[in-house]
């Protein structure tokens, strides 16, 4: 019964797309605003952040208007937090299926990533409008975005392989989720630039892969700079190793999800 999980996954490509379509359709069924919510959420966070961090806390942004400074990080952070929380809960949310039908369980995780990517694309289009509005010229470094996104997706997938499996056994994970993600956001340069982090804490701070990734987006979009390649390289090595370990563990654990879910 040893099967190559990747070959099997390839056979289920259509299922991944079907779950994705289901998630997208179901998300905006019976909503009046529909896909506008994909923009409204990061946009409203942007307004709140601008009021709190720009008007009140006076965070330095190096001359960039704060709304676009925060929005350029917020959309990618939203993508991360949405996929982590939905991914973590995806096994239990589909317990009806998991209990009764066999299919590679990671298809649910991949569908979470894909359906959230649609929201990201919509929010990204809004970023274009904001850049035009604030007169930020696009540069060739925008080409780093797909690379950073690939690293982020791999990291997220590696993470939810663990959290979703543990959540099957201990629902505590679900309760800790929103608190954990909020703390994580403040440990990531979303609302503030990396430069405000004290020099002596920097290496500790950079243990968070999302710090390098989010910082990379902002450099590429707003400042026309490539990401810090040395740091990104380390993140890639770490993420690939993590992915290998967590995916294998997930495949081992998924065999008995149906017994406990």
């Amino acid at each position: 019964m040893t099967r190559n999980p990747l070959r099997e996954l390839a056979q289920y490509a259509y299922l991944i797309l079907s779950f994705t379509r289901r998630d997208i359709r179901a998300r905006y069924k019976q909503t009046a605003l529909g896909a506008a919510w994909a923009v409204l959420q990061p946009l409203s966070l942007m307004v709140i952040f601008t009021l709190v961090f720009d008007r009140v806390a006076r965070i330095p942004t190096g001359g960039t208007p704060y709304p676009i400074f925060s929005y350029s990080a917020l959309i990618f952070w939203s993508f991360f937090s949405t996929t982590v929380s939905q991914g973590t809960l995806s096994m239990t949310a589909n317990s009806n299926l998991v209990r009764k039908i066999y299919f590679p369980r990671e298809t649910l995780l991949l569908a979470v990533l894909l359906s959230a990517a649609v929201d990201l694309a919509i929010a990204f289009a809004m970023l274009g409008a904001l850049m035009f509005f604030y007169g930020v010229a696009p540069t060739v470094t925008l080409l780093w975005i797909p690379v950073l996104l690939a690293v982020q997706v791999m990291f997220t997938f590696a993470l939810i392989c663990v959290t979703s499996a543990v959540h099957v056994y201990f629902r505590d994970v679900g309760h800790a989720l929103s608190l954990g993600l909020q703390l994580w956001m403040f440990a990531t340069p979303v609302a503030y630039p990396m430069s405000v982090v004290p020099e002596n804490l920097r290496s500790l701070y950079l243990l968070n892969p999302m710090a390098t990734i989010i910082d990379g987006y902002r450099r590429a979009i707003l400042y026309g700079q490539p990401p810090d390649l040395a740091r990104l390289g380390m993140v890639v090595v770490f993420v690939v190793a993590l992915l290998g370990v967590t995916y294998m563990s997930f495949k081992h654990a998924e065999r008995t999800f149906a017994d406990v879910i």
Binding site: L15, L17, S18, R21, K100, I101, Y102, F103, A258, D259
Partner: protein, 410 residues
């Protein structure tokens, strides 16, 4: 025909009872924690063995019925067969694509339309987009919901949703099909359609594993039956034989002598009840079409006015098939002696093959009050037309003949 496509080799499955920590007292929780730490968490009360050392093989093209009472391990077996879970010990192997008709419609999303759900459910069952597309019209026609195909299924009746689920699952076209109790879905016409689908798959030499409580379906549609009991295989073999054994085991014989007398002060009591075949033998099956006699001995302890004897025939699972009384034929019971015998002559026996029981009662002259009642006072088997041939169904064959427009059959 002899290649094995499904095999269980000493398969055992253990479930943890998963009593939550909150159900334990503080002391119990500490005890459990200590066992965990010592890695000796094998206290038997924490576990439940759903399967123990189960062995069986199923060959290509076979149609196998899985029977047993609730908790016998059928569902666990099916879960392992469909790869939803893995055995704790032992090995399971399968050759070919396994499809499951289990809890049809489990993958439905109620906000999506019928059409969207057909595609989604098809994908969950392992179909490709092209496959669903090519079968879409047939699926909708099978489910008989074409008018509602673009309506969200939360507005469907439960019957419609289940029919749609079955329709998708029935078109998956796997090499090995697992069917769990879905034949109970829908009305008689839809069930007929489902049975046709099953017959079609059998003709295509597909392997079928059927789990059901409907013994008629098992006898009529399976080549072989596996009877599971408390996590083990109790018996396997010819459907009619195994079903018969199973039914006798779940409905144990009640000895007539053990049945208590209803009312000690009643003037008439039922004694021994015996079924005799056309030769008067008591240890032979009754023969369909021949004569048979149900002999009832009774005891008269006080003067009684025109009592009535009632006899009800009961099938192996205890369902009453029909009863009659001595009053119907206008018989006047002889109560002048302290004991007597009354015989019900069946001429001919109209039962199909199987095991039957008789309940015998003695009633007052208005057929209202029971003087005595011996439930399942005797049992007998019948040698007659078998359900397995599918030429008859149910328990009785009414006295009949056929005529066609040409005239009578030869």
């Amino acid at each position: 025909m002899s290649d094995i496509v499904l095999s269980f080799d000493r398969v055992s499955k253990r479930y943890r009872l998963r009593r939550g920590w909150h159900t334990l007292s503080f002391g119990e929780a500490i005890g459990r924690l200590r066992r965990r730490v010592r890695a000796s968490d094998t206290a038997s009360d924490d576990f439940f063995w759903a399967l123990r050392d189960v062995n069986f093989q199923i060959r290509q093209g076979e149609s196998v019925g899985l029977i047993g009472s609730n908790g016998a391990g059928k569902s666990t077996t099916l879960k392992i067969l469909s790869r939803v879970t893995v055995p704790t010990h032992g090995t399971f192997s399968a050759v070919g694509r396994v499809g499951a008709l289990i809890e049809v419609g489990a993958g439905f999303h109620f906000d999506l339309t019928g059409r969207e759900n057909v595609y989604l459910n098809g994908a969950i069952m392992g179909m490709s987009r092209a496959e669903v597309e090519s079968k879409f019209d047939r699926i909708v026609a099978f489910a008989e919901i074409d008018r509602f195909i673009d309506t969200p299924i939360k507005y469907y009746s439960s019957g419609m949703a289940v029919r749609l689920g079955f329709a998708v699952a029935a078109h998956v076209n796997p090499d090995i099909l697992l069917v769990d109790e879905v034949l109970a879905v829908g009305d008689a016409a839809f069930q007929a359609k489902c049975l046709n689908k099953l017959a079609e798959l059998r003709e295509q030499d597909k392997t079928i594993v059927l789990v059901t409580h409907n013994m008629t379906n098992v006898v009529q549609h399976c080549d072989r039956v596996i009877w599971m009991d408390r996590g083990t295989v109790r018996a396997a073999g010819d459907p009619e034989e195994i079903v018969e054994q199973y039914l006798q085991a779940v409905q144990p014989q009640t000895a007539a002598a053990a049945a208590p007398t209803l009312d000690e002060s009643a003037p008439i009591r039922i004694g021994t009840v015996t079924a005799r075949d056309h030769r008067g033998e008591t240890d032979q099956p009754l023969v369909y079409g021949a004569r048979a006699t149900i002999e009832v001995e009774y005891e008269v302890t006080a003067p009684v006015s025109d009592p009535v004897i009632g006899i009800t025939f009961v099938n192996a699972t205890g369902h009453a098939l029909g009863g009659l009384t001595s009053r119907l034929a206008g018989l006047k019971l002889d109560v002048s002696q302290p004991t007597g015998v009354v015989r019900l002559v069946l001429d001919p026996v109209i039962f199909t093959r199987g095991t039957y029981k008789v309940s015998v009662s003695a009633l007052d002259e208005r057929i209202q009050r029971f003087y005595d009642m011996k439930s399942q006072a005797a049992s007998f088997t019948v040698d007659g037309p078998s359900l397995a041939t599918r030429e008859v169904s149910g328990h009785v064959v009414y006295p009949h003949h056929w005529e066609s427009n040409g005239g009578q059959p030869s």
